[in-house]
Assembly symmetry: C2
Homo-oligomer: 290 residues x 2
């Protein structure tokens, strides 16, 4: 059935700007009552891209009134030294949030490092206790990408209770946590993966379709029910065969899907900027609960 | 399509006996190398049914070579006293497993109490970090009922990778953890709840159907695909209208379903005894990892 109009584009940049504004307001309130709001980030030195990202992060935090301390550790930092560095942040009353820039060198155990971050300072939501808390219905620091996906869905005004939510991809950091959050919202949730039979059939039943498989263009108009909400979590680097130019695309064939979906989030400019904003919101939440 | 034969009944009592035997063997090995295997259970006194259960538990542990200490606390135990009692167990090197008998009095915060159990001694898998660890693919102490459900499914020999698993009911302690475990096994997982549209249609697509809604007789032959595996997690007390006798029934209309399913677990005698055995297995696992 052809639709009279195209999908509403979910503007992740505008939503992120709104989140930052609200965070800045609440940070200001906390600070005026004398409360600390400080994010401590740990990074293994010599990671160029990571250091550029951290510098941007420092600037953004500054704009929002969040203190930021970057701790640069040497490239041969041992597991014990890393855990000790985190423990210092965990026990420092002036530090309200802790995060570790990835990737870590092979010699370090990433999950053990993440699990050592104090649950109430874990602003990326990478300590297993924080996602486990979601299952038990606790108000916890939710993994940023999963929180961003839920925020974009909610921005459309859809009622998730009883809605059919289909999650394409079951990764540990996105697909599974998003599925759990949708269960918590009382949706009917279908978690699919590369072994799923009849992916198209599952997807066509979705009121809300979340693409988090890491496969460029996997989701086409054939997967989408007219009027559905489509959230694209994919961030794939591809080289344009005609121009040779590298660009970032999602898991959704945007041009095909926008003619049938009710709402669709673009890549770039959808989940990405909101994920970054969610780190700031978690940083605020962690500070507010101290 | 009528089937030539009835479903295979999944014998939870026999499976539990096998688990206990294997636990006893491994406990014996640990102890012969001088390692402690001790479960400490905390209970608020004056709870008659709970104390009977604890006495049974002590006897079972004794048979398997597991030391058992029951700590009975007064009915007006404060939250701080309860947390202190747990901390003593957490830091006692001779104690390898800790559990708290529910229900707790209203004055105590159950989730805070459960979250205070050391992750590596949490033999019931109630600390959020343990179920969160499942999402991140860690080998953790899995909540006992969810672990029992997975064990019964695996006992049929089914390959879960790519199988359609439908979970009816999305409770925090059973439905959600089971869904996550099935995702971890690379199944396509459908989580349904009381708001789900067309529950029957979802269920009829299931290779494995898990009934955990707490509604007697909810699942009938109309919900089951011929040859499917049906696991009944329901434990409902009902009064027989003819005889007035109270009895325990599951969520599955067993007599109707056994003529169409490939495998079905009964109530009683299915998930229940295996859940009890899983506590013993978790107790062994916790001791083995010290």
């Amino acid at each position: 059935m052809p639709r009279a109009s195209e999908a509403t584009i979910i503007d992740g940049r505008a939503i992120a700007a709104g989140l930052r504004e609200s965070v800045a307001q609440r940070v200001s309130e906390l600070r005026s009552s004398g409360r600390p709001v400080r994010l401590d980030a740990l990074i293994i030195g010599g990671n160029g891209a990571g250091e550029v990202y951290a510098a941007n992060q420092a600037r953004t935090c500054g704009k929002l009134g969040i203190d930021y301390q970057l701790h640069v550790l040497g490239p041969d930092t041992s597991q014990a030294q890393m855990l000790d560095a985190i423990e210092q942040r965990n026990t420092d009353g002036a530090c309200t949030g802790v995060m570790v820039h990835l990737p870590l060198p092979d010699a370090l155990d990433t999950i053990a490092v993440q699990s050592s971050i104090a649950v109430h300072k874990d602003v990326e939501g990478v300590n297993p206790a924080n996602i486990g808390g979601v299952i038990y219905g606790q108000r916890t620091l939710v993994p940023c990408t999963a929180a961003a996906v839920m925020h974009l869905i909610e921005s459309t005004g859809v009622d998730l209770q009883g809605a059919n939510v289909v999650v394409v991809g079951a990764s540990d950091i996105v697909g599974k946590p998003v599925a759990v959050l949708a269960m918590q919202a009382e949706a009917t949730v279908v978690s699919t993966n590369i072994h799923t039979d009849d992916l198209e059939g599952h997807c066509r039943q979705a009121d809300v379709l979340i693409a988090a498989a890491g496969v460029p263009g996997l989701i086409t108009d054939a997967h989408v029910r007219p009027g559905a909400i489509v959230i694209d979590v994919g961030i794939n680097r591809v080289v344009d065969q005609e121009t040779g130019v590298e660009r970032t695309v999602g898991d959704v064939d945007f041009d095909a899907v926008k003619s049938i979906a009710g709402h669709v989030s673009p890549v770039p400019g959808g989940v990405g900027p909101v994920t970054v904003a969610m780190l700031l919101r978690n940083t605020l939440e962690a500070a507010a609960r101290v």
